[in-house]
């Protein structure tokens, strides 16, 4: 019997190593200055003997390579090497251009169906790390390669990639503020609301399937929930006064929000199953913009109870609130990081707002942006990036940066005048 167990254990080991979990190529817990050199080969249309190309201009292939390049550069972990003409068999040429790894792929087009075959190769060990086929639509080749980029990232770092995540944002380009979604990099924009009224503060449900937002579409600022799959839209809170700033609890069963139905704008928790409201704050000031700690035990928010807007944290068990910020004239829009360690927020000392991040344990804060007027930070689900809004008088735009403030870049959605970004949870 002992012998049997030994055999089974051996099979178990061979299975796990076969799944490719043995080697971590990039250790995110030990950040290094060195970027891993990845060669991106050409994506060619694969044709059967004598068949006519369906993508004669190579536009799909170019979009695939460009999107993958964008994803990998965005992560800040890779340096990209051009490997035109190098195929999945060419380990030698791959090494000779100085790359450790190579991505090579091909695709077939059948009407609007796009099938992409792509490999990730370790050029040094001459090993295939990933060999995947993605089947999707020719309308959106970017989507297929984002999925692959997630797999690549995970196989090299051991952590989930964020390349298939999305953002929500507001733009008044249609003439009024409507809510949009886009890929994390600003591509593939979709307009979610078209009610021609004011729509504000979109936020994701923890499963990424629903969006809550405040809207004046029935006259008053009420809170709505929009189902991304069915398009079904329902009013979730319509107390007298404002119903704004809704944020789902991490388990998705409750929504923290601000209501002014009683004496002043206070924080409440709405339990979705019962429709019951529980008041969290009780003062004559303004309490807004709740953000849950990832364990659901605490909520950070903005309050003017001490004279100016400052960040506070309320413990949901004890009901006790503790002020967190003591500097700056205006601290607002707190966002709790996915690992629970930081609260990002916007701080103004009189003029423009900048993004800061506070260590939740020590309370020490660090300024992350230094130019322009920046607000509404939102974390990527892996906590490695922050998206925020930048406003320059009439013009609004979105920017992303690494969580330490480096790697700043504009998010181009093509819509214009964007604000109030919210980064999705992992969507796959």
């Amino acid at each position: 019997m002992i012998k049997n167990i030994a055999v089974l254990t051996a099979i178990f080991i061979s299975f796990t190593s076969g799944l490719g979990q043995a080697k971590v190529y990039i250790d995110l817990s030990a950040p290094s200055e060195r970027r891993m050199p990845v060669a991106i080969g050409e994506f060619r249309e694969l044709l059967a003997q004598g068949a006519l190309p369906q993508d004669p201009s190579g536009a799909i292939g170019a979009a695939l390579a460009q999107t993958l390049r964008g994803d990998l550069v965005f992560s800040g972990l890779f340096s990209i090497m051009d490997a035109k003409g190098i195929t999945e068999k060419d380990f030698g040429p791959c090494r000779s251009i100085g790359a450790d790894t190579l991505v090579a792929g091909g695709y077939t087009v059948d009407k609007d169906r796009l099938s992409l075959e792509v490999r990730l190769l370790d050029c040094v060990a001459e090993k295939v790390l990933l060999y995947k086929r993605y089947i999707g639509s020719t309308n959106n080749p970017r989507r297929l390669i984002h999925y692959f980029a997630d797999q690549l990232y995970e196989s090299l770092t051991g952590r989930k990639g964020v390349f298939s995540t999305k953002i929500l944002f507001v733009s008044n380009l249609p003439g009024n503020k409507e809510i949009f979604s886009a890929d994390y990099d600003g591509g593939n924009v979709m307009q979610l609301t078209r009610n021609k009224h004011i729509n504000l503060s979109p936020q994701w449900s923890p499963d990424g399937r629903k969006v809550i937002y405040s809207s004046y579409k029935n006259g008053e600022p009420n809170l709505y929930m929009f189902d991304m799959r069915s398009g079904k839209d329902a009013r979730v809170s319509s107390r007298p006064g404002i119903n704004v700033g809704g944020r789902f609890s991490p388990d998705g069963t409750r929504i923290a929000l601000t209501l002014s139905a009683e004496k002043s704008p206070e924080l409440y928790i709405l339990t979705l199953a019962t429709g019951e409201y529980t008041r969290l704050t009780d003062n004559y000031g303004i309490d807004v913009s709740p953000t849950w700690s990832p364990d659901g035990q605490r909520i950070a928010y903005t309050s003017d109870i001490s004279g100016n807007p400052h960040i506070f944290v309320i413990d949901l068990t004890t009901g006790k609130s503790v002020r967190q910020t003591f500097e700056g004239k205006y601290n607002s829009s707190p966002a709790w990081s996915p690992d629970g360690a930081y609260i990002a927020y916007a701080r103004a000392d009189g003029g423009a707002f900048q993004i800061w991040a506070m260590d939740v344990v020590t309370g020490s804060a660090r300024q992350l942006t230094f130019q322009g007027n920046n607000q509404s930070p939102s974390w990527s689900p892996d906590g490695r990036h922050i998206i925020f809004s930048n406003s320059n008088n009439d013009k609004g735009s979105l920017y992303v940066m690494h969580a330490d403030g480096t790697g700043l870049r504009k998010v181009i959605t093509g819509i214009g005048n964007e604000s109030s970004p919210a980064w999705s949870p992992y969507l796959q």
Binding site: N4, E117, R133, Y147, G219, R229, G231, V244, S420, Q428
Partner: protein
């Protein structure tokens, strides 16, 4: 022997599970912003790549451009329309409104300091005139709209507008106006009266204005 089986059974089940997972080389991705796609029917047949090697196959469903179902949400209140803009412009013409309260054509807009919702001395005088006019026109009901300037956070500004409208309502109640004639709404920074990005414009936008409902 029986005992041995008992010990190894969980391991066997675990391995069977692993074998089951790895044998099906195809992952079906469930997309969040897409309706159910006919392609993602949950098939798990193993696949072969172009060169005959085993390949992991992933079906990536389309992003469907779904927009909100507005069928039950299109009953937007006409009150929230832009007609208030005219009333507000007239209301700001304070110099031309020096006559009797009863001859006042409209109600004065009340202005606030940055990030404040207390009503200062000069504005109290204007509110007293508004109260007098409301006393002389007992059938009129009004909605008080609270606004903020563009600086600061969207949600904070909505709360600030709410506080300003409530402060004005409370003041008028204290002057004897029935609360039943006074409703409030906040537009935060969403409906500026002046479009500029300087103190002059901001000062005009930090306001509570009156919308006569009937």
């Amino acid at each position: 022997m029986k005992n041995h089986y008992r010990k190894t059974l969980p391991l066997i089940i675990l391995l069977a599970g692993l074998v089951g997972c790895t044998a099906s080389n195809e992952t079906v991705i469930d997309d969040i912003t897409a309706k159910a796609d006919s392609q993602q029917a949950g098939q798990t047949a193993s696949a072969v790549g172009a060169d005959g090697q085993p390949i992991q196959e992933v079906v990536v469903p389309q992003d469907n451009a779904i927009t909100e179902d507005t069928t039950d949400a299109s009953t937007a209140s006409a009150k929230a329309g832009d007609s208030s803009a005219d009333a507000q412009t007239a209301g700001q013409d304070k110099t031309g409104q020096s006559g009797e309260a009863a001859s006042q054509k409209t109600l004065y807009t009340i202005h606030f300091d940055f990030d404040r919702y207390t009503i200062n001395e000069t504005e109290r005088g204007l509110l007293a005139k508004n109260a007098a006019w409301l006393n002389s026109t007992p059938r009129i009901t009004v909605r008080i709209e609270g606004h903020a300037d563009e600086r600061g956070e969207t949600e904070y500004n909505l709360a600030l507008g709410d506080r300003r409208a409530s402060a004005v309502k409370k003041f008028l109640q204290d002057l004897g106006i029935s609360p039943g004639r006074l409703s409030t709404i906040s537009y935060g920074e969403e409906k500026p009266a002046a479009q500029g990005h300087n103190e002059e414009a901001w000062a005009q936008n930090r306001r509570a204005e009156f919308d006569v409902l009937n």
